[in-house]
Subunit: 412 residues, 2 copies
């Protein structure tokens, strides 16, 4: 990643100029303590872009939003939790009715509405709580950090932590802000956006360039996150740009200004990707696999993903067990072109550096020190393939009792 000067700021999706947000309990969830409906609204039409799940089975709101973003504009996001609005006969009808109601109230085109849902698949969704909730949401919209907070809370499902980030940076000498909220937890796997994530910025940028920047940012971040190997039906990442920062509109991808914006967007996406991995369902540890020395970019990505996807690696990390055999095993079956005899594997955490495998074979290590290294909550697994010049990192988490508990009876 290129060097960029970012300043962490408060405000989440409300940090950039021209955005308000809020979240309420609409009644979609039975538990009245839980917010279940979020809105992010721009003061005026924005340029916008989105990336979506590659699952052939995708939820109705994914289909609707993908179509709505084809013209590169949007003004408002409405997102519910508690029901995925996927795989039901009336899914499109419900998603479209939601957009129609909101667009009519706001007096904006229907295709400027981004609609998203997350929750149980296959359950017909009662949208009356959403329709009834719209006026309340609109009257509550807040341009401060409070609004972003509420929205970030309302989109959570099995997440244990709210995920919200924002930065300011310079584009062509003007201060630009960018913010995002997201939710992850289960069904997190490449490829794609891999969760719900809503980004706002006040950067002036054309919709086609915004789209290019989003694809660039997603490739090394969300698309390298895996929690359980399942690609969700609902994954969506959208970005809306209000253009209020006062910079000259970014219209091509060759200029310095594009780079400044794209790197900031990527940085924000990386924050969110790591937060999603660390808060994977039941996770106690963030796992980062850094592959270096691979023969190709594809190989590097495949290798890194194979390691953080392996159930055996994930359980070993949960148990703080330096069972590197499972790592080399995963590298072996990944499908990448490798030379086993050149592989070095090293664990790294805040506790220190622990080489465990040299040239494909065991490298003596102290078990007590290994336990200490692997008991930390962020473990890097460095795999040097010594066989080329390509590198990639993938992000995941350990596999725990809690994952099984959460998913053994998700619907109740």
């Amino acid at each position: 990643m290129e060097k960029i000067n970012l300043t962490k700021i408060d405000g989440g999706v409300c940090a950039p100029l021209g955005f308000k947000a809020y979240g309420i309990h609409s009644g979609l969830r039975k538990n009245t303590d839980r917010l279940d409906l979020a809105m992010i609204k721009a003061d005026k039409q924005c340029t916008a872009a989105g990336v979506f799940t590659k699952n052939k089975v995708f939820a109705a709101p994914v289909g609707v939003t993908r179509e709505h973003l084809e013209n590169g504009t949007a003004q408002v996001v409405i997102c519910n939790s508690g029901n995925a609005n996927a795989c039901t006969p009336d899914g499109y009808e419900k998603a479209n009715a939601t957009c129609a109601a909101l667009a009519e109230t706001l007096g904006i085109p229907e295709d400027d509405v981004i609609v998203c849902s997350t929750g149980v698949i296959g359950l017909s969704m009662d949208i009356s709580p959403i329709l009834n909730g719209i006026p309340t949401l609109l009257s509550s919209l807040d341009p401060t950090a409070v609004g972003s907070d509420k929205a970030a809370t309302a989109i959570m499902t099995t997440d244990t932590k709210k995920k919200e980030f924002s930065y300011s940076f310079e584009v062509g000498g003007k201060t630009v802000k960018i913010g995002g909220i997201c939710k992850g937890s289960g069904m997190i796997h490449p490829n794609m956006g891999t969760m719900l994530c809503f980004i706002t910025t006040d950067c002036a940028i054309s919709s086609s360039v915004l789209r290019t920047a989003l694809l660039y940012a997603v490739k090394d971040t969300y698309n390298m996150v895996t929690v359980d190997g399942d690609t969700s039906t609902n994954d969506t990442v959208t970005v809306m740009a209000s253009g209020l920062a006062g910079n000259t509109e970014i219209c091509c991808t060759e200029c310095e200004e594009y780079k400044e914006f794209a790197e900031a967007l990527k940085h924000l996406c990386m924050d969110m990707a790591l937060a999603i991995a660390a808060d994977g369902e039941g996770a106690t540890k963030l796992l980062i696999c850094n592959v270096t020395g691979a023969k190709s970019d594809d190989d590097a990505r495949i290798l890194a993903k194979a390691v953080v996807s392996s159930s055996l690696v994930k359980t070993a990390m949960y148990g703080a067990d330096a069972n590197w055999g499972r790592i080399i095993c995963a590298l072996g079956y990944s499908g990448a072109d490798i030379d086993t005899s050149k592989i070095n594997i090293t664990f790294v955490s805040a506790e220190g550096v622990l080489p465990v495998c040299k040239n494909g074979g065991s490298y003596p290590f102290d078990e007590d020190f290994a336990k200490k290294v692997l008991t930390r909550d962020k473990i890097e697994i460095n795999c040097d393939m010594n066989d080329g010049e390509f590198a990639a990192s993938a992000f995941g988490c350990d596999l725990t009792y809690e994952y099984v508990r959460i998913n053994g009876d998700y619907r109740s």
Copy 2:
């Protein structure tokens, strides 16, 4: 599968004429109650064949045995548990030394020895317990069910049940016997043999035809089993044919006799594949996904495997939760060519038949009945794609707390 007349008999790998077996505690494992060294010996040289892990990182004994079976003959299997003899600098030296010692004692060619190991990866193996154990094993070899039992027990790692099957059937009017022992549990995933499995038969069959029959049998059985998505470094399936049944040697794959033998071999492999799936690490339930109506054979296999591989499906089945959305989600991301709107999904167990999804959407069902259906220990998930004529079945198990416990600290 074609109709065949098989009679279940006792004896495991000792059921066919011309084989003895045994298992002892050699000292490779610290726990003296656990057998750790198995031998299966034919009275004379057999025709033989094997299939092996496709993992690029494979254990030394896999490399050695693959080479030994190139000439299509073998006479003895020696297999230890407790150490995989994989990813250590002296692995080949150790595997070869084991073969040399056994071959010399028996006065047979070194390449008639099949050597296998299972256990921890990356730990240098002390083979003195094996070398010291060979005389004891040889003097204990038993041609009855007892010998097979002991061998089946000695190859177990995290298996909770010994896996042993044997049948008699007719080939060209002569009675032929076939028997097998296997071990599975963790690191079970297509493609390949996917575990350790040793098969014996007294059928007279050429080595090249035996190899064809083994590949045929493995395709729909072992290669459709997945426990945790990890392809082991050590997976091996071998078959030795003593030829003592008195049938005319099967030398081509066109004749009726070939079909009789190949179907019997496939049936035996299916028994073992299902036993391995049902006894997956921590499993409480056998899951079978039957896909029908797929557009191609490949698609059918990919779809069935995607369902039984999904962590979210596996945990839902553990929780007896009819969350079919996760099944259609897995079908969607499998990579197969599908039409979501045609998919029907039905759960079947000894309790009854429960349709849950019609034409890609929800189909009303009674939650109490669903709970009953899914609380049984064998669940079939029938996915009719209604989009072609191809079918395939994949075999797996649920994902449980116990899987996490077992793998969180395997080495201690």
